[in-house]
Structures are given as structure tokens and as C-alpha cells.
């Protein structure tokens, strides 16, 4: 099962492109947005989206979109059952008050990760809005959470969906 390809390198790029496009259309003033990736693979997806937006919106060197990373470990609702995970860095190097945050994760499944991530963000201040971008939406949400920007919908997944990124795994792709 583990080797069914959902997205290859090309379709991975297309999905990122789609998300970036939708974000630009939605945010007339691109200087108001900030992008935050959820560890671990949400961070590389977020970086790709950031680069794409910078290129598509032709921001160039004039301005850099604020970028942050976020770890939800301390906010999980299932810490009791887990082998204690390594906590990664939560770095939000900008003032999130009044920013339009685009929160990025690789896969949206139960929605629990996003729930925790929203709590983390709220502890940093009061953003103007938070929108959710995911590379894969596999459905079966357990909370009333849905993505605003979706790379690909993949509703019939049975097994674990594995996202790989060039930065960490040497290749871009999504496998089931």
C-alpha cells in the first residue's frame, strides 16, 4: 500500500501553484499576509507556497512575506497515549496582531492538529484572520474545521498518507 503515488513531482508543484494562486486572488493586499507552517512537513509545504507567492505576485526583493513555524506538541489532546515526541521550535518572528495568517499543513485529516495550531497562534496575539492551506485534504474530519486552500482532495484514502519534500526526504511527492 505504501507506494501508491498520489502526487508526483509535477502534480506536487501544480498543487502548490494552485494554493499560491488562490491565496493571491483572495488577498488583494499581499503585504498583510503572513505564512505559518506546522511541523514537520507543513513547514516545507509552507516554504514552497511562500516562494511561489513571491514569484507569482512579483514581490521580488522589495518585501519579504513574514514566515513562521509552529509545533503543536504541547497543545495536543492525545499526549497521554503518545510516546513523548520531540518538541520542535515554534518561531513566530513577527507581530501577529492584525495580520492575515495563512496556516499551512501537509495533510488535513481529523482536524485535531489544526485545532491545536489555532490555540498556539492565539497565544501569540490576535491575528486579523487565520486561513488554512493544506496540500492534501483527505476528508474524515472529526472537528468542524475545513481548509480554505486545498492542493488536492483525496477522499478515499485508507492508509497513512506520507508527504515527502526535497528539503527533508530528497524528493517531492505524496504517497499512500
Amino acid at each position: 500500500m505504501a507506494n501508491t503515488i498520489i502526487l508526483n513531482e509535477k502534480s506536487f508543484q501544480n498543487a502548490i501553484c494552485r494554493i499560491a494562486n488562490d491565496i493571491i486572488i483572495d488577498n488583494k493586499n499581499i503585504q498583510k499576509i503572513a505564512i505559518v507552517g506546522i511541523h514537520s512537513h507543513g513547514v516545507c509545504v509552507a516554504k514552497k507556497i511562500l516562494i511561489k507567492i513571491t514569484r507569482l505576485a512579483d514581490i521580488g526583493d522589495k518585501y519579504q512575506i513574514p514566515f513562521g513555524t509552529l509545533d503543536i506538541t504541547l497543545y495536543r489532546d492525545d499526549l497521554n497515549d503518545l510516546k513523548i515526541p520531540v518538541i520542535k521550535d515554534t518561531i513566530i518572528p513577527f507581530d501577529i496582531n492584525n495580520k492575515s495568517i495563512v496556516l499551512v499543513d501537509d495533510v488535513l485529516y481529523t482536524g485535531r492538529t489544526v485545532r491545536a495550531a489555532l490555540d498556539v497562534l492565539m497565544d501569540f496575539g490576535r491575528p486579523k484572520s487565520i486561513k488554512l492551506a493544506v496540500l492534501i485534504d483527505r476528508g474524515s474530519h472529526e472537528l468542524p474545521i475545513k481548509a480554505d486552500y486545498v492542493g488536492v482532495r483525496h477522499n478515499n484514502a485508507k492508509g497513512f498518507i506520507k508527504v515527502k519534500c526535497v528539503e527533508t526526504d530528497g524528493v517531492d511527492g505524496v504517497y499512500e
Binding site: 509545533d71 506538541t73 499526549l79 513523548i84 520531540v86 518538541i87 521550535d89
Partner: protein
Amino acid sequence: MSFKCKDLLGIEYLDKKDLQVVLDSVKPFKSLFTRSVKKTPTLIGKTVVMLFYEPSTRTRTSFEIAAKRLSADVVNVAINTSSVIKGESLIDTGKTLEAMNADYIIIRHSMSGAPYMLAKNLAASVINAGDGFHEHPTQGLLDLYTIYEKKKKIEGLRVLLVGDILHSRVAKSNIWALTKMGAEVAVVGPPTLIPLNIEELGVKVYYDLDEAIKKADVINILRIQLERQFESLFPSVHEYVELYQVTKERLAMAKPKVLVMHPGPMNRGIEISSDAADSSNAVINEQVTNGIAVRMAVLYLLNPRRGNVYSN
């Protein structure tokens, strides 16, 4: 990525891997301190009981802040108004607290081994906050982390512990932590305050501070416990000051970027001079800040509810 055991009784029982896990876990907690909300819901619904049979301000406050920043409920047992003075035994006190669903018990006791006895008899996580002359593991861990943060490594560093090694549980925890991580540890003090056979723990013993201080990367100065001086372990405080006080002049003999540490509370003018305590080499206040982050990491790593309950 967690401890093998439910309790933290001493650094003696941890291995190098455990210590590295702690060092790697502290930073995310420390980064919370600069946020507008410094709390996370990690231990929400858990109860932390503080059982201090000996006086303490900074350790108790530090644990309390650490537990509260993780959203635990903290209960302080005031020993002199509790059933302890009616003669309740330590284990019975522990069982009573456990019956009230305490998840963590943080204990300081004048008897070495008291936390061990409690841990053996309870399912709650027991954290030693200082027992007799034995260990003070969270102090050892926060000293280790402070050195690691400043020097970016532990291995190969020359660390000197100055003063009352005999009565100091901080010294014991420091020696265990630092030698396990590969530092070269030396102790210096009056012969009456150096325990016999301390060399067996892998430390070098000096009696002359001026000689020992040379080439030190870190100097950790232990408190002269004036409350114990009835034993007359040195002729006079004045003589101790002359021979063993860490002063700015003496710091000049160590390495240029030497770290000056003290677990507190300081006796300024006795084991440390004021100019040394306030010098740019001193990291004494950082130790206090790191103490909270390290204790948060310990509470996080020692989750008591996660199965395989056995003591170390």
C-alpha cells in the same frame, strides 16, 4: 524521547542519552517565556503537589511556576501545619496525597533517600527537589543546561566546584551530570568539606583554589551552609574567605570567558565576592530563568500516566 522511569530521583540513575534528551527539550520551553501568553495546556487537569520538609524559596517557586505554565494545578503542603507534626509517616502522607489524585509529588527532605522511599510506594511521579546530602537533580540539570547553552558543549570542559562539597547535594548532582557528559570535573575546598573517596566519582581534588582555578571554563560556587557551622569544620569564616572566596582577582587566573555560577542563595562576601557575583562572567540569574524551563521539561518528560510504571 522520554525517560525510562516515572520518577526523577537523582542524576546518578540517568544515562548520557537521558541527559541529552533533557538538554534538547529545554529550548522550546524557554522560548515560551517571551510570548504574550506564557502558558501551554500540556498538563491540564494534572495535579502537582509540593511537599517541602525543608525551607526553600527558589526551588519551590521555580517548580510552582514551571507546573503552572504547563497548566497543572499546584498544591503546596505546608509541613508545619500539616499532619506531619502529628506524626504521620512519609509514606502515609504520600498515599494520602495519591488518594487525592496527585499526579506528581515534588519532595524536599532532610533525609537522603526519602524521595526514593516515596517513589517505590506510589504510582505518582516523584521528583526529588533535594534530599539530605544526596542529590538535587533539577539543580544539576539546570546547571548542565546553563553551561551547554553558553558553551554549546559539555564534553572536554573543565568545571570547578568550589566550597562545601561535603554537605552539598548540588555538588553531587553536578558531578554526576557533568562527568556523564564528558566534562573534566574538579572540586576544591577545605579538606574537612571534601568527602572521603570523592575521587571515585571521577573528579580531581584540590585544596588550593589559586591552583585549581587555572584553566577553568566554568566555576560553580557552592553555598557555605552557615547553619551547619556548629561542627566547626573550619577555624573561622574569615579564614575561609581568605583561602576560598571567589573574587574578581582570582577569576582573572581562570580562562577569559569563564562562567561563574552559584545555585543560590548567595552569601556575598563569604564564598563569593560581590564584584565576582556581579561580573559579566556571572550567569547566576540565567540559572534561575533556565531553572523554570528545565523543570518544565522534566515535568513534560516524566509523564506519570504513560504505562510501564516502574521506579529507577
